[in-house]
Each structure stands twice: as C-alpha cells, then as structure tokens.
C-alpha cells in the first residue's frame, strides 16, 4: 500500500506541480487567422447598404464592403491581422509605438498585432508548420523564394487581387510612385504572374569607397567603370604592399548578380523561369574579378564583416548591403578615422548603373477573404509615404516609393551615404525569385570561389547554370 500511495503521490506531484508553477496569467489568446467559420461577411452588404447602386467607387460609409468587383461583399472591418516579422531593437520599438496609433485611428477598425518571430529561417519554419496545421498569420515577412515555397503549398494569396481592385487597390499614380523594380520583384512568372509579395522596404548592393584615400592616391573622383575601379584598387594595394588595400572580394550570390547586372547581363532567363549564369556578362564580370585577384588588387577577408578592414584602410573598396552603412559609420568612428567615404554604384559597363536591390517582402497568407483584405489595407498603410518616411529613419532601410524622399530631406542631409544609396534606387533590378534560389545561392558561392582558385570560368559557369536549373526543376517540376 505504501508503495502505491507513494506512486500516487508522485503522479499527482508530476501533474499538479507544473500547473501550480505555471500559474502565470493566462496568455492572451493570440489572434491568428480568423476561422473559416466566421460570420459570412458576404451577407453584410445586403443588410448594411442595400439601397446603394452598384458602383466601383468607395461607399460613403467608412470602409464599407464594395458592392461590385472581385472583392464585392468582403468586409475588412473589425478584423485582427497578426503580422509575423523579424524586426528587433529600435525597429521593434517603433512598431510598438506606431501600431497602437494605427489600431486607434484606422477607419476600418482593423487591429494589427505585430509579433517578432525570430529571423527569416525561424519564420520559414513557422510558416511551413502553420500551412500544415492551418495556423497562419494575416501577414508574414519573407524572401521571394519563400513565397514560391508557400505558394506551392497553397499558403498565399495573390496580391494582384488587391492591388488592382478599383475600391481597395492602388491608383495608377500610387503605382507609378513605387520604384518599378521593387514592385515587379514580387511577381512570379513561375506562378502565372501571381503577385506573392509586396515590398515594405529595400536595401541595395553597393560599393563602399574611401574618397580621401583615393584622392591621396591621385584619383579625385570615384570610379564609374570597371577599368577605373581596377586602377584605384591596384594603386591602393600597391600603397599598402602587404596584400591588402584593394578590394575585398565578396563571394555571395547577391554580389555575383550585382556584378552581372553591372556588366549588362542577368542571371535570370528572359521568361523568368530559369537561371543563366553563363551569359557573357557574368563571364566578363568573373574574368574581371579574377584578374583583379590575380594582380593582387583584390583579396578575401574571411574573419567577418569587412567594415573594420575598410575603416582601418586595409581596403579602399568593399562591397555589401546598404543596410551596413551604420556599421561602417560606427567602425570609422571607432578607429578615429577622419576619412571621407561614400557609397557608389557597382562599376558598370552599361550607360547607366544597374543596381541589385533586395529585401524581404510582406505576404498575405491564405486565410479568409476578410482577413486577407484587412491585411492588404495594413500593407497600404505601411507603404504610404508618411509611414515609410518614419520607417526609413528608424530602420535605415530605403523607401519603396519615390515620393517618400520628399519627406526625408533633413535625414538625407544628415546621412550623406544613405542619400547616395537612395539616389541609386531608380536603377534597381532584382535577383531571381525562383523557388530554388536559396540552394542556388550556395552553389553560386562555391562556383565563385572555385573560379578565384583557378577553375575555368566558362566551364564553371556552365556547370553552375546546369546545376541551378536542375535544382529548380527538382523543386518546381
């Protein structure tokens, strides 16, 4: 009996202790996607605005459902939109401030709940699990290849439905205000032209250049062509004389794409359905970089981000995302450098610069028509110039609409490198948004390193193109 009593005690303890210990306040039920059994909103227009004539114009009642068009009868009012994002620190703090304002003032009574869910990889895991279980948010961030994965599983809404809607969509003027490449990037030819993502912000692949050092070496202006770039890099390398000084090579796929764009090519086929890494522009770009490396005018730095090398005058050029600008500023200050430095376009053989722009999109998961429409209205609000201007100040990201810069004149004056990068946005183009691009990126890095170690450029790029297209075919038969 004693043993049984003891066993009972242990079992009770095992069950009760966790519950007692876990007597924290009940977590606020996280509003996720509205259940499919929600009151059918399609009936509401008939009761709320029965006398109105069918029209594509917004109804006088704030945020009332449209009476015609593809979204007729879909009522976004009172919806809760959960937004899974990756923003931390100051960005998250700003969101925590501005979202309550939106919730209090938006005429549709939409409640936006922004939830930090870790980095892009964590969010990808959550989305995959969410699609399998039906627990999806109203909005989620992710890269373009993520969009393809989710769409393949039937987990995303086509934003074209919303962007083109006569009542809830964007006007032609508003569409024209977006930088074209930004808006095009979310359109997936592999999914019949569906718009699976919308840009809330962007970064751009740039060259960081030490102007003061360049002037000391006899180059009054930053380079615009590959030849000028080579001349300056080699002069800086000769000045240091220890293998450093020139350009720090970047083996990332975004850098390879950026060089290809600058040499007048593309890594995406014309129909947007496959890869072409063996085009003449990529071959020329790789040949240029290999020669630079062989001549001792470029080197690899593998111990982390290159900004400390740049600040310490161990590289006159580095390459990377414009989101690194604050880190360059910090490093220049840390070493007490008084050098003037700038952000310049990738040296190009094209008449105008062609810049690689990138960044995560927001997507609308497939939930209910009401939640999806409410999510679109949140996107519209977030990409409005006023909100974008504030977001750019906080995040350091670039705005997606040209008119936003008019609201940022003071910020542009205070941040010259940021302003230089903003000036490059009209020249933007983008990397493949294909489903396999995450895997292909690794293959590109390997190919780049193989070329720099002496592999035949043409053969390596041919093999890379074949491998990339095989990966694409494997994931998207």
């Amino acid at each position: 009996m004693k043993a049984r009593t003891l066993l009972a005690f242990v079992i009770i303890l095992a069950l009760v202790v966790p519950m007692v210990v876990a007597c924290k306040p009940e977590p606020t039920p996280t509003p996720t996607a509205a259940p499919p059994t929600a009151v059918p909103s399609t009936e509401e227009p008939a009761t709320e605005a029965p006398t109105e004539a069918p029209t594509a114009e917004p109804t006088p009642e704030p945020c009332a459902p449209a009476t015609e068009g593809p979204l007729a009868g879909v009522d976004p009012r009172g919806q809760t939109v959960v937004w899974w994002h990756q923003h931390t620190g100051g960005r998250q703090e700003w969101l925590d401030q501005v979202i309550p304002e939106f919730n209090a003032t938006n005429e549709c009574g939409i409640t936006l709940v922004a939830e930090y869910q870790g980095g892009y990889n964590d969010i990808r895991d959550k989305m995959n699990a969410g699609i399998a279980s039906g627990e999806l948010p109203g909005l989620v961030v992710g890269y373009q290849n993520d969009q393809a994965f989710y769409a393949l599983a039937g987990g995303l809404a086509d934003i074209n439905l919303y962007i083109d809607d006569p009542v809830w969509g964007l006007t032609p003027e508003e569409k024209a205000d977006f930088y074209p490449a930004f808006l095009e990037q979310g359109v997936h030819p592999a999914f019949g032209g569906a718009r699976l993502g919308f840009p809330p912000n962007r970064s751009v692949e740039v060259i960081f250049y030490n102007n003061t050092w360049g002037e000391e070496l006899g180059f009054p202006n930053p380079p615009t062509t590959p030849e000028e770039f080579r001349e300056i890099a080699c002069a800086a390398a000769a000045a240091n004389g220890d293998g450093t000084g020139g350009f720090i090579l970047r083996d990332d796929a975004s850098a390879v794409a950026a060089w290809t764009f600058a040499f007048g090519g593309n890594v995406l086929t014309e129909d947007g359905m496959g890869y072409v890494y063996n085009g003449q522009a990529t071959i020329d770009a790789m040949t240029f970089l290999k020669q630079l490396y062989d001549d001792g005018c470029a080197y690899f730095y593998t111990e982390g981000y290159p900004n400390p090398e740049f600040a310490a005058r161990r590289a006159i050029f580095t390459m990377g995302s414009s989101s690194g600008i604050p880190y360059y500023q910090s490093d220049m200050e840390a070493v007490g450098s008084t050098d003037t430095w700038s952000v310049i376009p990738v040296p190009h053989t094209t008449p105008e610069p062609v810049q690689n722009i990138y960044g995560g999109d927001v997507m609308i998961p497939a939930t209910t028509p009401e939640t999806q429409l409410a999510a679109w209205l949140v996107i519209k609000w977030f990409t409005s110039p006023q909100v974008q201007a504030e977001w750019c100040r906080v995040s350091g990201y670039f705005p997606t609409r040209a008119s936003t810069t008019e609201l940022l004149t003071d910020y542009l004056d205070e941040n010259p490198q940021w302003a230089q990068a903003v000036a490059l946005l009209p020249y933007g183009t983008y990397e493949p948004q294909l489903i396999s691009y995450q895997s292909v990126r690794d293959a590109v890095t390997q190919a780049f390193n193989a070329i720099m170690q002496g592999a035949d450029i043409q053969a390596t790029l041919d093999a890379l193109t074949e491998q990339a297209n095989e990966l694409q075919a494997e994931l998207m038969p």
């Binding site: 004693k2 043993a3 049984r4 003891l6 066993l7 242990v10 079992i11 303890l13 095992a14 202790v17 966790p18 210990v21 876990a22 924290k24 009940e26 977590p27 606020t28 039920p29 996280t30 996720t32 959960v82 899974w84 990756q86 923003h87 931390t88 620190g89 960005r91 998250q92 939830e115 930090y116 869910q117 870790g118 980095g119 964590d122 895991d125 959550k126 995959n128 699990a129 399998a132 279980s133 039906g134 627990e135 970064s203 111990e303 982390g304 981000y305 900004n307 400390p308 995302s321 989101s323 690194g324 604050p326 880190y327 910090s330 490093d331 200050e333 840390a334 070493v335 350091g396």
Partner: protein
C-alpha cells in the same frame, strides 16, 4: 636515505614520457575547451567596435554591457519562463522516463526488445524532421483540450517529457542492478512499484542526476522549437532573448556575448551542484559525450 628510495622511484615513474605527453594533450584539450568561454567573457566586456575588430581584450571593460543586455533582451521575463519550463520538463522526464526505463530493464513483456529498438531508432531522427508532425499534434491537442497548447507551457514541455535518450540512459543503469536485490525484495513481499521506489531509485541517484542535468540543459538551450510554438514573448525562453541582438545588418556581438554569459550561469550552477553524481552516472552507464 632508505626511506627516500621509494619516493624517488615514484618520482621516476611520474615523469615518464607518456605521462608528460598525456598532460600536454590534456592541457591542449583544456585550452581548446576553455578558449571559447574566455572569448565570450572577453567580448562581453568590449565595445561594439572592439568586438567586431581584431581585439582580444577590451581596453576598458564595459560592465554596462550586462545591464544593457539584460534590459534590451527582456531577460528578466525570459529568465523566469526558462526556469518554469525547465522545472516542468525535468519533473516530467524524471517521472515518465523512470517508469519507462524500469519497464524496459526489469519487466518482461511481449515485444520488449522490439519496442526498445524502435525507441532507440527515434534517436536517429533529426530534430527538425519531427517539428511539423509535433506542431500539428500540439495544435490539435490545444483545440480539443481545456487550455491552448500553442503559445503556452504545454507545447513547450510535454513533447520533451519522454526522452528516448533519458530512457536509454536509465535503462542501462537499472539493468546493472543485481538480480539478487529483486529476488530479496520479492521474498520480502515487494512488488515492482515498491522495488522501484525503495531499491532501484535510491541506488540510481547518479543516473537520475545525469538525467536531470541533460533535461535541464536541453530545456534551457532550446530555441527552434520554442520559436515554432510561441507567437509572443509570454512563454519564450531565455535563448530567444539572445536573438534580439541580431538584425539583418549584423549582430551586436558584445551584447550577445554578455547575454550568453548570463544565459549559461544557471547551467553552470546546476552542473556544479550535480557534478559528482553526473560524473558517476556517465561512468556507470558507459555513456560519453
């Protein structure tokens, strides 16, 4: 002189080349093991500029990094969460794994070996493979149960209350207990439950402590699963706090390291408390890290 001779012989034995070689190897291993910790502590006291540069030691120790890390990452809330989750997980593992291990070690039942083999086979599954099925399970259980599981403590603890590794560890230990003790207990009228609680468990403190420390460390360090099953910070563990020092442009390495030092302190504490039993447990069960 006659008394000193044995000492001299012992000394000669101590300085044999292989002993020196062993010490050199062990010292090198110690250095390799301890360097990351020293690097972490050193970086935690640096400025961001020093942390991202080539500096080995901070010019001026930035003790404020610890305060900043604690505040910025909301560690106070995450810390409490981690303690609660670790306690629930450890208690659950001790209860369920003990019972399962005892059954596998001391009770004969049909297909015992097959079941044990299947259990061991689950150790071969990569953790990420079971995420989606487990997520679907906890979502479903939350829908049919009285409390939500996702974004709540059950999803963070229940899936880890039955660990194949812990069952294996205890089963190995229980199997070594002499059969004579069971025979004697039977003569005294004991059944399995009394034998388990009055004989087996008192003899298995070392193995149980090993289980406790593994379960505690596993729960404390968990990140991917907690991020998957929580949507808000209310139940996220301390490891989630460390993520707040990462953004797309890079990491605030100095704060991340300060946060890491804070994070590992409880693990070190648990290890120091259970060190003796833990070492014995590892030795008895023949397990190595």
């Amino acid at each position: 002189m006659a008394k000193q001779a044995p000492v001299s012989r012992r000394n000669r034995r101590l300085i044999r080349p292989w002993v020196v070689f062993s010490y050199v190897i062990l010292s090198a291993g110690t250095i390799v093991a301890i360097l990351p910790f020293l690097f972490m502590i050193s970086t935690s006291l640096m400025t961001l500029g020093e942390a991202t540069g080539h500096t080995l030691l901070p010019r001026v120790p930035q003790w404020n990094n610890y305060v900043e890390a604690w505040k910025n990452a909301n560690f106070s809330e995450f810390f409490v969460n981690s303690v609660i989750l670790a306690v629930i997980t450890v208690v659950g593992q001790v209860v369920f794994c003990t019972l399962a291990a005892y059954a596998f070690a001391c009770i004969e039942f049909p297909a015992k070996n097959l079941l044990f083999t299947l259990l061991l086979a689950t150790l071969m599954l990569p953790e990420s493979v079971v995420w989606v099925p487990n997520f679907i399970t906890v979502t479903w259980l939350g829908r049919i149960g009285p409390i939500p599981w996702v974004n709540n403590w059950p999803a963070l603890t229940v899936p880890f209350m039955a660990s194949a590794f812990s069952i294996f560890l205890l089963r190995q230990f229980f199997s070594q207990i002499p059969q004579d003790l069971w025979d004697a207990a039977r003569i005294d009228g004991a059944g399995h439950i009394r034998y388990l609680f009055q004989v087996v468990l008192p003899l298995s403190r070392a193995a149980l402590m090993t289980l406790v420390i593994f379960a505690f460390v596993g729960s404390w360090n968990a990140l991917a699963w907690p991020m998957l099953v929580t949507n808000s910070p209310e139940w996220r563990p301390i490891s989630a706090g460390l993520m707040s020092f990462l953004d797309e442009a890079g990491a605030h390495v100095h704060l991340q390291m300060a946060g890491s030092v804070i994070t590992i302190l409880p693990i070190l504490l648990v290890y120091f408390i259970t060190q003796k039993q833990f070492t014995e447990g590892i030795a008895f069960t023949g397990l190595k890290g």
